[in-house]
Amino acid sequence: MSQSLEAVSLECVRGDRRLFSDVGFALEPGELLHVTGRNGSGKTTLLRMVCGLVRPQTGMVCWGGKPVSTLGDEFFRQLTFVGHLNAIKDELTGRENLMVEAALRGNPVSESQAASALSRMGLKGHDRLPAKVLSQGQRRRTALARLLLADTPLWVLDEPFVALDVHAVETLQHAIAEHVAADGMVVLTTHQEVPIKAGRKRTLHMGGSGTGVAA
């Protein structure tokens, strides 16, 4: 069942500031939404709103036509989110991190699956170290390896390329392009370019007033 993601006239107020208002977009399978904007324009907040982590002041986010706030688990089952925090446990090794997270999702993966996802992210030989000792970039890679194991249609990625070196950036760009080509959906923010092979790319620019109807 292929679903669509839609945001309708979202508004966010933080403190005294109206961060954004009347932001909307619609995303079909096989599409990528690149959220751009200056620092502090509200990209992270928008992404968290899409995931149901932040409640919009007005407006709503819909999945397959239904508001995600009423869908609950049903929506989360379609979603993989990589925030700007890596969400990996320092005490666990890379493999264990992936396995534990998959088990909690309800789709357990085997150790060899986890290992192969990590080695695709260029972490071969580092996947049995506790995450604590990894470098910034290695930690980011571990967090992103989750995407290679997920079979959810919707990926939401907040600055996924941060701290990655050129190799890793390439690998990730490739993975994203493949996901889109396979009728997946991606919402991401980044200050870099995101080339995709197939599918459609939309851009949503945040900032200024009357922002945000996706082009």
Partner: protein, 221 residues
């Protein structure tokens, strides 16, 4: 149900990686229990009267101190955020975390309490009631504590703020927990107190995972 057991497994593995955590809660309990005779003087008669109260207060403080650990690490590294977007009821995940917290901070105290009780000269049957009261009471402390820990997540000085929030709700548990032991040792039978503790436990089991889950969603907004 699966969400609960999965969460418990995860947190128990993490606790095993950091065995120091569990051990230090235990040491804290032991040290507080040992400090009092130092602060107050070693008269056996006084100690016997104070014993149950001191042990209960020590257990309460130990449990409260370890509340900080319940969500803080998950919050800081972003795994809590991920938990909120897992396709599982959040309240069950929270329940799992609470159970794991109790296994690491409540259960060891319960198991250790008879030894410390002996030090205060408590009789065997009194010790039995002490253990039962702690067995019923410490999970309540973890459950209530979860709400406080979730509410104060990420606030600086949260450790002390959480104390302020949960202590008022801990007080009844303390009163009936220590009261059960006292009632028993004065020949009254502590059943009434114990069944009230049981009632607290059931009530906390029913309400607190839900309240803590709501608090988490609020704290991460």
């Amino acid at each position: 149900m699966f969400a609960v057991t999965g969460m418990v497994r995860r947190d128990v593995i993490l606790a095993m990686r950091r065995r120091a955590d569990v051990l230090t809660t235990l040491f804290f309990f032991v040290i507080v229990a040992a400090l009092f005779p130092l602060g107050i003087g070693p008269e056996m008669a006084t100690l016997r009267i104070m014993g149950p109260g001191v042990l209960w207060v020590a257990a309460l403080l130990a449990s409260m101190l370890s509340l900080g650990r319940m969500f803080a690490a998950d919050y800081a590294d972003g795994t809590l955020e991920q938990m909120l977007v897992l396709p599982q009821p959040l309240s069950l995940l929270v329940l799992g975390k609470v159970v794991a917290h109790w296994l690491g901070s409540g259960l060891p105290l319960v198991l250790l309490s008879p030894v410390l009780g002996l030090q205060y000269g408590l009789a065997p049957d009194v010790l039995k009631v002490l253990v039962i009261s702690l067995l019923l009471g410490t999970p309540v402390l973890s459950l209530i504590g979860a709400i406080g820990a979730a509410l104060t997540l990420g606030l600086r000085g949260g450790g002390v703020l959480v104390a302020l929030l949960v202590l008022p709700l801990y007080v009844p548990v303390l009163i009936f927990g220590a009261g059960a032991v006292e009632a028993h040792s004065s020949g009254l039978g502590g059943e009434g107190h114990l069944s009230l503790l049981g009632a607290f436990l059931l009530m906390a089991l029913a309400l607190s995972p839900w309240a803590a889950a709501t608090a988490l969603r609020i704290s991460l907004d």
